[in-house]
């Protein structure tokens, strides 16, 4: 019976074993190869994903908030198959242009960053604020992170850009998303959120 190393159980012959150098070297080489491949796989990038939205999302009438949708997958890494729930992409792929909730495939502390462009407004639209906030399972309560601007009128620029970020603990199957915010002093002017992105980085495993 061979001996084994403590970490990866690489086999090596003991003095009492039959002298069979070729077999001993073969067993050792194959064990190193297998374990090295598995260990190297751990060095894959952490779970992370980024989605883009380019279909205008309209907040019409007196609506003050609406979840933004995602159409384009920029990246969605597949983590190591040798970690719990491994060999799956960081988050569930999106196949529907109306997707507004990004479902994570792994437990962990996730850093979520979202940014969105919104139309500049005319003074008569009476838009007091344009903003975004990070959602957890569709909710912004308790708040994750919110950011908005009161400078919504800018005739020389086509868009207003707002962004928010937060670290939020998520377990497998939970979701994150980004919500557009509109605050009007009066009236019911529509607001369109245009190009946007949401990025999720899995920073821990639990």
């Amino acid at each position: 019976m061979p001996g084994f190393t403590p970490n990866f159980t690489f086999p090596y012959p003991l003095p009492a074993d039959p002298a069979d150098v070729p077999t001993a070297l073969k067993d050792l080489a194959e064990s190193i190869e297998l374990n090295l491949s598995q260990t190297d796989d751990l060095s894959k990038p952490r779970g992370m994903a980024q989605f883009l939205g380019n279909v205008p999302n309209t907040l019409a009438g007196t609506a003050i908030a609406g979840s933004l949708t995602w159409q384009i997958t920029n990246f969605n890494t597949v983590v190591s198959q040798f970690v719990p729930n491994g060999a799956f992409p960081a988050v569930q792929p999106i196949n529907d242009a109306s997707t507004n909730a990004i479902t994570v495939n792994h437990d962990g502390f996730w850093f979520v960053f979202g940014t969105a462009q919104a139309q500049s407004q005319v003074v008569a639209a009476n838009i007091d604020e344009l903003g975004v906030e990070i959602l957890r399972n569709g909710n912004a309560t308790p708040a994750n992170s919110r950011s908005g601007t009161h400078n919504t009128v800018n005739a020389s620029d086509p868009t207003i850009v707002v962004d928010a970020a937060a670290g939020i603990p998520l377990t497998i199957g939970e979701t994150s998303g980004l919500r557009g915010l509109v605050r009007r002093s009066s009236g019911a002017a529509s607001v369109q959120f245009l190009n946007r992105s949401i990025t999720l980085l899995r920073m821990t495993t639990s």
């Binding site: 060095s43 502390f109 919110r146 937060a166 670290g167 821990t204």
Partner: protein
């Protein structure tokens, strides 16, 4: 016995006494230790970056005009895997325990007062001074809508412990009230 140049793995030379079991064991053990210490363990460690999130979800904080007011958070952090936030010691301080480059983001909501005017800024501070560029963000104050500010930056913590805080400063005519505030730090 001789050793390989890069990983220092032992191997017998022609002049060594032939002791195949001992020599293979020495080689296998060296590879085993090297892979564990220099490949597997760092890879596993990197999966769990030191991270913290402190958050104030209840209560409010008075922010006087023209004063750097450090934001406070709830007693318990939302998340902390490196003993960076202890609300029993300080409700304002994130104390970084592990050197490295950190992704920092924070946000604060300021209630409307019924009067417009002035601007408010959210600034990230370290015990070594203001966190380097970009340090924060600012917003103008509306009369009847809250003001929500967030900022995100990268910051290198070279020497620990280093304390990270956030403060609000504004020049509104009268004090403002901060409600929700949060700070997240995670090492990249």
């Amino acid at each position: 016995m001789a050793n390989t140049v890069n990983r220092n793995y032992p191997y017998p030379e022609y002049t060594n006494v032939a002791d195949f079991p001992a020599q293979v064991q020495a080689f296998a053990t060296a590879v085993d230790t090297d892979l564990a210490n220099n490949l597997r363990d760092p890879a596993l460690l990197a999966l769990d970056a030191p991270s913290v999130r402190a958050f104030r979800g209840t209560g409010t904080q008075n922010i006087p005009t023209g004063v750097n007011t450090t934001l406070q958070y709830d007693l318990l952090p939302t998340y902390d895997n490196d003993n960076m936030y202890d609300g029993t010691v300080s409700l304002t301080n994130i104390t970084v325990q592990t050197p490295g480059v950190y992704l920092i983001t924070g946000s604060v909501n300021l209630a409307q007062t019924g009067v417009a005017g002035g601007s408010a800024a959210l600034i990230v501070m370290s015990s070594g001074g203001v966190v380097q560029n970009p340090v924060g963000d600012s917003r103008e104050i509306d009369n009847d809508k809250p003001t929500s500010i967030s900022c995100t930056t990268l910051h290198n913590v070279a020497v620990v412990p280093e304390t990270i805080t956030m403060f609000v400063r504004h020049n509104h005519a009268g004090a403002l009230t901060a409600s929700i505030a949060q700070i997240t730090m995670t090492r990249i």
